[in-house]
């Protein structure tokens, strides 16, 4: 995928020129100025920042959309904070395991110092002693850009926090589920990077004995903006329930696949218009590979949590994949299901066995193998895997599959009667981080 196509309004994060090039601390400081030292590092700086983040309404940009200030409060302590041996760790999540997402790469390529500013600020608010910047081990460019940015800051940014903070770039195996926060913490501590079963998610994760907080890179970049320009400024753009801008990765049947910074609440049709639709759009995959298909008529929906919830979708990690009219949405869904089955961490039976079974079913449907009980089996198996994993991986696949049955229902019923659409063996428009064998070219 072309990662770095970005001319955009309003360019808060990526700047008017968009992303690209090498990290440049001088340009960063010329654009944004230094962090407001008096407010941030003053006696009430921690409370002030926490309050600004709360007022800003910032929500996590990694996929779940959880309010950032609430997440901070799971680890934040008033007063003196933590004792020295128990100071928290902050993890910057730049794993970007979602194959159709390129936003973290675009952000790190275009504005690494905003991400690192945000990490420094949150580390100070939490009283953290350590920042781990986690990058997938096959993203060498990203790791190099971050390393160069860190090196520039070592000399170019005055010491900002009273307490010493270690900043380390960590490269970790980048499976789909590896970016899930408990999996990331496990991986960063040297254990297998698989999600943990957490009945109570309000309890902070721990690394050794220390509490650890995981924030997406884009979320932290927004914290850096809020610290400088304030909550009121931040709320001037975007949807009321999730203000600000977001980085959307548009791919599929478009002229210029890439990352676009848009206000939250921008209609989906307008966002994909930035990338230039190729032909007539049939459907849009929204959120990610564990997201939902929306029919072309749904593209008028605002890209914001409340409006998307009404049509059964979420913003997810900012992924939008355009599928043109005439393409086979069922085949594409089968490919995603097969990919997601292979990306399962393999811990939980319903995911380990259920996702391959669902992928099998979808391939049969895409092939047009007439079988009277196939449709019903896909519906019941989707329901069967939902809520039955330690993480939400199976839930996402089930949601995607259910939305495909809705959106591609007309095609689907023809397939189920043994009449697959002509495009059912056409090449995919999807991005995958590993080859997916899903009946493409199969007889």
């Amino acid at each position: 995928m072309t990662v770095l196509a970005t001319t955009l309004h309003p360019g808060r994060l990526l700047g008017p020129e968009g992303a690209g090039g090498r990290p440049d601390l001088a340009r960063h400081l010329a654009t944004h100025g230094p962090l407001p030292a008096a407010e941030l590092w003053g006696p009430n700086g921690r409370q002030w920042l926490l309050h600004e983040v709360q007022r800003s309404g910032l929500t996590g940009r990694g996929g779940a959309g959880f309010p950032t200030h609430l997440k901070l409060r799971t680890v934040y302590r008033d007063g003196a904070g933590y004792r020295d041996g128990a100071r928290p760790t902050l993890i910057v999540n730049a794993m970007e395991g979602e194959p159709a997402s390129a936003k973290d790469r675009a952000l790190v390529g275009g504005a690494p110092h905003l991400v690192l500013d945000g990490a420094d600020i949150v580390a100070a608010v939490l009283g953290a002693s350590r920042i781990l910047i986690c990058v997938a081990d096959d993203r060498r460019t990203m790791a190099a850009q971050l390393a160069e940015a860190l090196a520039q800051r070592a000399s170019g940014v005055p010491a900002q926090t009273a307490a010493h903070v270690d900043r380390t770039i960590v490269t970790l195996p980048g499976r789909y589920t590896a970016g899930e926060e408990s999996a990331l913490v496990a991986s960063a501590s040297g254990r297998p990077g698989v999600p943990a079963f957490r009945p109570d998610k309000s309890r902070p994760l721990t690394l050794g004995r220390r509490p650890v907080l995981v924030h997406n890179a884009e979320t932290l970049a927004n914290v850096a903006l809020i610290a400088r320009y304030g909550a009121d400024w931040f709320r001037q753009l975007g949807a009321v329930e999730a203000p600000g801008t977001c980085l959307a990765t548009v791919s599929g049947d478009v002229e210029r696949a890439g990352v676009f910074e848009v206000e939250t609440g921008t209609p989906i049709s307008q966002i994909i218009g930035l990338a230039g639709e190729l032909g007539t759009t049939q459907a849009v995959l929204v959120g990610g590979y564990g997201g939902s298909w929306l029919p072309a008529a749904g593209a008028a929906t605002a890209y914001a949590p409340a409006a998307l919830r009404r049509v059964g979708a979420t913003m997810g990690a900012g992924v939008l994949v355009v599928l043109r009219a005439g393409a086979c949405g069922l085949r594409e869904t089968a490919r995603i299901a097969r990919f997601m089955a292979a990306e399962s961490a393999g811990q939980c039976g319903p995911c380990l066995f259920g996702l391959p079974a669902l992928a099998d079913d979808l391939e049969l449907l895409a092939d047009g193998a007439a079988s009277p009980d196939l449709w019903g089996r896909i519906v019941s198996r989707s329901a069967l895997v939902t809520g039955r994993g330690a993480c939400r991986h199976p839930d996402g696949v089930a949601r995607l599959v259910s939305s495909a049955l809705d959106v591609f229902a007309v095609d689907g019923h023809a397939h189920a009667r043994g009449r697959p659409c002509p495009a059912s063996h056409a090449p995919t428009v999807l991005q995958f981080s590993r080859p997916v064998d899903s009946g493409q070219g199969r007889r």
Partner: protein, 79 residues
């Protein structure tokens, strides 16, 4: 009393479905499905028995309204 399965720990031995048949059935792959999260009074003894008999210690029981305890970490150190 609430009951839950730790799906990451469960390996589908299925003893729970035998011991606690009123509450646990097995899906098509042999993994437990709970018909409800709260344990009726008459099934409490069976629920405790099922918890004890699980080879993976994957059944969680709580007298509380919520399952608040994290799972003890599985001893699975790299060789």
């Amino acid at each position: 009393m609430k009951i839950a399965v730790d799906p990451a720990a469960c390996d589908g031995f299925g003893f729970c479905a035998g011991i606690l048949a009123g509450l646990v059935s097995l899906d098509e792959w042999g993994f437990p499905l709970l018909s409800q999260a709260s344990v009726p009074d008459e099934l409490r003894a069976a629920a405790r028995q099922a918890v004890k008999c699980c080879p993976r210690r994957a059944l969680l029981l709580s007298e509380d309204r919520r399952l608040t305890e994290d799972r003890p970490r599985r001893r699975r150190r790299a060789a």
